[in-house]
Symmetry: C2
Subunit: 455 residues, 2 copies
């Protein structure tokens, strides 16, 4: 359903905001096939916008939603910069929790409220409008530019890797920039230069051939639910360190400047982690702050555990099996395959007596880190400083962004993560929002970034 | 639905079997309100049978299904024996798995096939028919007899304790006998003299205020699913002993004769436990056989554990909470309340850092043991020896039978467990059966038992 009601008049709404509102009105929900036409209409609108700015823009079909690629006239000898974004959005359920309709953007309290305002239409369009402004002011861009906008990010970019492979030559570039991550606090320009990798597996422990009566048999045979608990307990030592043999062998130690800088970053102090998570207390690997633990140290996390009776009250069953789902967050220079081998060896070696263990390996992704003091890293820092008139902070992130690794694998270049999202942006949730000042800073950031990357 | 079809003629079917077949044809399923009339009709049939034998029999209303009480003329100075049984049965689902209709009893391969054949109509009616035979042969019984038959055993005897309280004086007796437990093997007469008690609780561990992204927060806060596993692991030591402080303080050691006897009991060897459970290996408290572990040693068993993502594949969530459901099987002289206090103290003391634990205490029941070499125990052994022409074995059971404790609490007497059920009787399952020879031995057992108890 596309927002087709009468357009609300906002006094003082700039042409840039009018563009963003038009972009936000498309309910380009990629996961819902009923919105497939809206996704395409949104891509068509983008093509029109990019062409009107004087760029060459082309819509590329994929098995599902199209990719939009735009470029200026490339000049030999200049730097080539690829800016990635996505024009699809998350579903809006539960709709009843939205204060205003998700596809009828409006401004309240200095923020733009709409699905996609932050993730990713607001951040992405800031780059488009930055380029438009530079073209209007300067007549040309200082770099060879490639815009790569996909419509499937919220469903896991199923066709992007194949698209990159097929268009490797046309997408050749020196560096990639993405604004789809977070700022540590309002007004604090943030350059992300690292992401954790991941390796997942599930262990199933089996005992008796069927569920047993715990009165008749309890005590004589191993209980798989008890055994899975003992196996999980073996994964960490008392202090919280992962106890898998060799797990830390390839972990690149934090550099002194990282620890120094992170200790001063607003919004990621231990007390902020405590406040945001609402946990009774912090807990993790000894000797590290919460930021260090989440950005630069690996983990062994239980994502799910189960066995036996799950309902209310009690049922005196001795279950036939139990399971645990693990994910391991990895940091440079850990290799997912190597870690999974070590984990499997640990699980098999520590399987309690009287049960068997079967390990099923799941998906993985490599950790990522780029030098924030490289030529491009320094250029990004300068651009952030100019756009926000404040000193940028350099961070890594605890999560994984698979496309960043895909870019490095296929195109062979690093990615600058220039996030403009705030912690309370409500991405993927009702009442998504994006501060007008972040949108405007994003436009300035794009102008400064292309200028700095050209040098 | 009552079996009203033409009665099958069995050549050589005795009047006793005809009685049992009539009794088995009532679909007296206590849990299903649609069978309430059948339950009552079955009670009425019993009343008629007992009165025809010359006993005084009375139907007592309860809030649901009636209790039947019958007695001979009591003579001052004689022993009073109460025989308990239940005339209600389990549901028959899944009906399709029955080889013959559950309420149309028939004999094949020397066994009676019907719902309730073993549990409990066959065993119970053997006592009734034993009394009938003695009355016919001797004109009177050697003891003051009370038959107490309820119609709610399969739904947890919700009204029995109140009935016992209300009729305490009329039910005053010297000893109770029940045939509703198992024989260790065909042809091996079995006297049960002990049952394990139980104490249940559930622990809920809570961490962050909501589920967190394990990439963004993993490593900085305690994971309740990991914590619940560590807490469960703290409940046992490496060898399988319960590690709760003081847990074994009041455990009455096994007596030498028990260990000696149990080591020779057919059907409960370690290899039989392994075969029956299908476990990859036996595991339990060191220094004890499987029979000893299940009959005379206490346990800490996980009946359910859960937290985080339970579906297929992976979801990188750091769950806000996790739970574990424990049941502790208790042996003399452990007290459920004392054990639960120790368990709570353990759970609180061993709760891992960064999470909170809340313990909810569930139902409990005391362990039971009576001296099988007491006057009544020896009488029961003699009766078993006579009925089966074999040496009886003396066992305890790993489960809990709450009515036995209720009898001791309200009537103040011990119970002789004279089980006639075989391991393959399929009680509570399709194709329930009862060997004709066990039914006939039960009649002999009753006659011998009353005689021996009178001495």
């Amino acid at each position: 359903m596309r927002g087709t009601g009468p357009q609300v008049e906002h006094s003082g709404v700039t042409p840039e905001l009018e563009d963003l509102f038009a972009f936000l009105r498309f309910p380009s929900v990629s996961t819902d096939s009923r919105n497939a036409g809206d996704v395409r209409a949104c891509a068509d609108w983008l093509i029109g916008k990019l062409q009107a700015m004087g760029l060459t823009a082309q819509l590329h079909e994929t098995p599902r939603h199209p990719v939009v690629v735009a470029r200026n006239v490339h000049v030999e000898g200049r730097r080539t910069v690829l800016i990635y974004g996505h024009y699809d959005v998350q579903p809006v359920d539960p709709l009843a929790l939205w204060n205003t309709p998700p596809f009828e953007p409006e401004i309240r309290d200095g923020k733009i409220w709409a699905r996609g305002a932050t993730d990713n239409k607001g951040q992405m369009l800031a780059h488009v409008l930055g380029v438009e402004k530079t073209l209007r002011e300067e007549g040309e861009l200082p770099v060879n530019l490639i815009f790569l906008f996909e419509g499937e990010e919220e469903i896991g970019s199923p066709n992007l890797a194949a698209f990159l492979e097929a268009h490797k030559a046309e997408l050749k570039c020196d560096v990639i920039a993405i604004s789809d991550t977070g700022m540590v606090a309002p007004g604090v320009p943030t350059l992300g230069y690292g992401l954790r990798g991941i390796a997942c597996c599930e262990a199933t422990l089996r005992g008796p051939k069927g569920d047993l009566h715990s009165g008749l048999f309890g005590g004589a045979v191993a209980n798989p639910a008890t055994a899975v608990a003992r196996l999980v307990a073996s994964m960490h030592d008392e202090t919280g360190k992962v106890a898998v043999d060799g797990f830390y062998d390839d972990v690149r130690p934090l550099e002194a400047w990282e620890r120094e800088m992170w200790s001063k970053v607003a919004g990621v102090s231990d007390s902020e982690f405590l406040r945001i998570t609402g946990s009774p207390g912090l807990f993790g690997e000894p000797g590290y702050s919460s930021a260090e633990r989440t950005w630069a140290r690996p983990t062994a996390e239980v994502n799910g555990i189960g066995g036996g009776y799950q309902g209310e009250g009690s049922k005196t069953v001795l279950p036939a099996e139990a399971f645990v789902k693990f994910s391991f967050r990895l940091v440079p220079d850990q290799e997912p395959g190597d870690i999974m081998n070590k984990v499997k060896a640990h699980l098999e070696a520590h399987c309690p007596p009287g049960v068997t263990v079967e390990v099923e390996v799941g998906h993985d992704g490599k950790p990522y880190v780029a030098d924030p003091h490289s030529k491009f890293g320094l250029a990004a820092q300068t651009a952030l400083r100019k756009a926000f008139d404040a000193e940028p902070v350099l961070i890594r992130e605890g999560g994984s962004i698979p496309i960043v690794q895909t870019f490095r694998d296929i195109l062979g270049v690093d990615t600058l993560l220039l996030g403009l999202a705030l912690a309370d942006a409500q991405i993927h949730a009702p009442n998504e929002n994006f501060p007008v000042e972040n949108f405007e800073a994003g436009i300035r950031l794009n102008q400064a970034l292309l200028k700095e990357l050209a040098l």
